[in-house]
């Protein structure tokens, strides 16, 4: 054979090896990279793209904002906050889903399927790499968790974080990303990813609706739980471990679906089918675990904690003031003591009757998310016990409660709400100190004609009583609220910005239209009681505000000198103003209207 023009020259051995059975020229073998290395290399690129995506960053910021709005004023209970972090993870997951879907459909959208088909790396390998690249979403999820955890810890967190709950939030993001890849391998149009993200949001937003017992089966549950009002963590509520397992199963199933779309060989499809069945089984097992009822003993214990808080709480006492808190809430004690001690620092003599600040927990037993799987009779029995206990809190006709109640989950963490709650607490302590009664039993005519009169507990109004102004003054100097928090006011002694309502106060046989002042915290639920709690008048508030213009020591001297006198309900605002040497602030007369509530005056 002679060399053909332009053809290469080979020796005999090479020539023999270079020709195949069909006479076709063969060339030297190429080292093939392991599939693992290719997957890892591509996964690194995909993870970097995901981590740097502006949309993921926007999802992270939106998630942080949503969580902040949800928890900024709430009591930092870890067993509640940990689940709330999941709301932020839902938003982050939505953006990861969209970005992953765009990545998976990238080749088709950019008209590069022909080029990609010419590469040795198969579509299945690329999909596997994209699934592995979802680790790029982990930093964002961890930043979300870390940021919230830091804020919660700095707010004086109660309880400890549940690793299972936090891990479930992370797995939610991964599962969302895997779903995005599954959608993108089939549908490259960006709208498909967005619709899938909206489905994720809608299922989380409405998880409580169709079937309460199945609340935890959705990717995340936004509503329908009573976590923030529980006195402590309750095992299985939520079933975080099982939920994390379900999310892992969902992520695996989505990954299997993605690979199945791109797999060509029968053997690969067979393996994927097996993997899919395993993932489905994991999801079913996790679902079954989540549907298990909370053990009866645990619910019994919870009901006991709620109905008989004294049996579960630790109480600390000092100088006739008691603080009874559920276990784990001890860190709140300084925050509660501070305004009360500041009030008492100006009180010359304390009442003999002790004052108790007691935490109470609300519970709604007919909520199927809590009591599913338990017999109706048992749930009713629990419910009756809880309702009876709550009635005692609201007001017992025979023995009005003298405790001040602090509902669990209502003590704010920071900001204006915390300032209002502290004022409310200080006012309760001050009213106790000046002996304003918590409520009055009033006799009202029977609804049936000729029948006996009814004894009804009513909130009373300390109308024109100096002790009311003193109580308000004590609360103001103890907590120093802003002018805005007190009700605006225009700084010139007028009523502009002050929140008022009207009441008809029964004085003897007549009614006096009176303007009632809405003090800071009056519309919140952080502090409740004692009893029905007296109303505060605008007149008393204006006098108290005028008193703050005097040096505290001067007011202290005047009060100390005539303390028994000022505790008498007959001592008037005008007398106090005259003794202090300040003009009595003018209060516009209230407008008598039909529909104003009728309330008795506080006596004794």
């Amino acid at each position: 054979m002679t060399a053909a023009a332009g053809g290469p020259a080979l020796d005999a051995a090479q020539a023999a090896a270079a020709v195949g059975d069909d006479g076709q020229a063969r060339i030297a073998g190429r080292p093939s990279a392991s599939r693992l290395h290719t997957v890892l290399g591509l996964a690194r690129v995909e993870a970097t793209l995901l981590a740097r995506s502006l949309l993921v960053l926007a999802g992270l910021l939106a998630g942080v904002a949503v969580i902040w709005l949800a928890i900024r004023s709430a009591e930092p209970l870890w067993w509640s906050v940990g689940w709330r972090i999941g709301l932020g993870q839902v938003l982050l997951g939505m953006t990861v889903l969209v970005v992953a879907q765009l990545a998976a459909g990238r080749a088709r959208r950019n008209g590069m399927t022909g080029l990609y088909a010419s590469f040795p790396t198969t579509a299945g390998t690329r999909t596997l790499a994209q699934l592995a690249g979802l680790v790029g979403a982990v930093p964002a999820s961890l930043v979300l968790i870390g940021a919230v955890a830091t804020v919660v810890q700095l707010s004086g967190a109660i309880g400890t974080a549940s690793i299972a709950t936090l891990a479930a939030g992370l797995l939610l993001v991964i599962a969302a990303g895997a779903t995005g890849i599954a959608v993108g391998t089939r549908f490259s149009h960006p709208l498909a990813g967005m619709l899938a993200a909206l489905v994720l949001f809608a299922t989380s937003d409405n998880s409580h609706l169709p079937w309460a017992a199945g609340l935890w089966l959705y990717p995340w549950a936004s509503y329908g739980d009573q976590l923030s009002s529980l006195p402590g963590p309750l095992a299985g509520y939520p079933p975080a471990g099982a939920h994390a397992l379900e999310l892992a199963g969902l992520a695996a199933l989505a990954g299997v679906v993605s690979l199945a779309v791109t797999a060509r060989r029968a053997r690969a499809r067979g393996r994927l089918a097996v993997a899919g069945i395993v993932a489905l089984a994991v999801i079913c097992v996790a679902g079954a675990l989540q549907l298990r009822p909370i053990p009866t003993a645990d619910l019994n214990h919870l009901v006991s904690e709620v109905t008989d808080p004294a049996s579960a709480q630790h109480c600390t006492s000092a100088s006739r003031i008691r603080y009874c808190l559920y276990p784990g809430f001890g860190s709140q004690l300084p925050s509660l003591e501070a305004p009360v001690q500041a009030v008492l620092a100006h009180v010359p003599t304390r009442p003999t009757r002790p004052l108790t600040f007691r935490q109470v927990a609300g519970l709604y037993l007919p909520d199927s998310t809590l009591t599913h799987g338990h017999p109706y009779r048992q749930v009713s029995e629990w419910d009756v016990r809880v309702q009876r206990a709550q009635a005692n809190i609201l007001g017992n006709f025979a023995a009005p409660s003298t405790d001040v109640y602090l509902p669990v989950g209502s003590w704010p963490a920071r900001g204006g709400e915390l300032a209002d709650a502290r004022f409310d607490l200080a006012l309760a302590a001050a009213e106790w100190a000046v002996r304003i009664p918590s409520q009055t039993i009033a006799s009202l005519p029977s609804e049936a004609s000729g029948g006996p009169s009814r004894q009804v507990p009513l909130a009373c109004v300390p109308l024109d009583q100096a002790r009311e102004a003193i109580a308000i003054w004590l609360a103001i100097v103890a907590t120093h609220p802003s002018a805005g928090a007190l009700g605006g006011g225009d700084g010139r002694g007028g009523l502009r910005g002050v929140k008022v309502s009207l009441a008809e106060v029964t004085v003897g046989a007549s009614h006096v239209a009176t303007e009632i002042w809405a003090y800071p915290g009056s519309t919140t639920t952080a502090v409740s009681g004692p009893g029905l709690a007296p109303q505060t008048t605008v007149a008393g508030y204006l006098l108290a505000r005028a008193m703050t213009s005097l040096p505290e020591q001067k007011v202290d001297r005047v009060l100390t000198a005539g303390w028994p006198r000022w505790l008498n309900w007959h001592s008037t605002d005008a007398q106090l103003a005259a003794t202090l040497g300040i003009p009595m602030p003018g209060v516009p007369a209230g407008l008598s209207q039909q529909g104003n509530p009728v309330e008795p005056v506080c006596t004794a």
Binding site: D11, Q24, I27, R30, F119
Partner: protein
Amino acid sequence: MTVNVSTAAVRADGLSRRYGATAALDGVDLALERGITGLLGPNGAGKTTLLSILATVNEPDAGRVSVFGFDPRDAAERVEIRRRLGYLPQELGYHRHFTVAGFLDYVAILKEITDRRRRAEEVARVLAAVSLEPRARTRIRALSGGMRQRLGIAQALLGTPDLLILDEPTAGLDPEQRLRFRELLSELPADPVIVLSTHQADDIAAICPKVIVLLGGRVRFAGTPAELAATAAGQVWTAAERDPGAHLSWRGGDGRWRHIGDSPPAGAELVASTVEDGYLLLSDAAGAR
């Protein structure tokens, strides 16, 4: 004993491919050796279809393809072909938000160049080959059309392929860049099998030792550019006026008419035929059938 083997590295026998009623390829036989082969043909001749079949992107309806002895119908052998392949499609979409280097890095991984250092070297090498190093960090959406075409060529060169399939590689390139492209092909290491399709006959003449003319899905010519030009020898003439007897006529930049036909008129000023003349004559003949 030294033996020279001149066997075809890439062979196609009886390739056919239809798109609906249209026969894109109709019984195409070809054999490609190491070196550059130009594929010439008008739009719709089947060039892109043929190249996509050789690149294992498409499958023929009939016929066989063998690339370095591998049969693309077998999945494992198809992957082997792709390990030795560099492909520039006619319409190459881009991930516009990728940078130039990022895109090449991605493609390199897809070509199973997983070693990071080797990959970086490869990317630097192909960037230098197409003179795009200053643009390594530029996003693709900011590149001009010519630069994107060079980027497409660069990705095809990754991994030093044994088979380089370039569909219209000089589209969008200015004359200087086309010259550089020709130099690039001639300097490629390992003497790969290169097949490129083009409309530019002067590219064929300058680069390709072998040319295949594809018309109507069939191979009408396979040989050297000189042989293609020779098919029109004695059938090309110029005149001051248009000759209605010529098959093809057009006016040049000097204002004189150039004619291609079977019988030049007596006294006509015959000129040397070019590759383009030979191609046009073939094309015209195929159209007349």
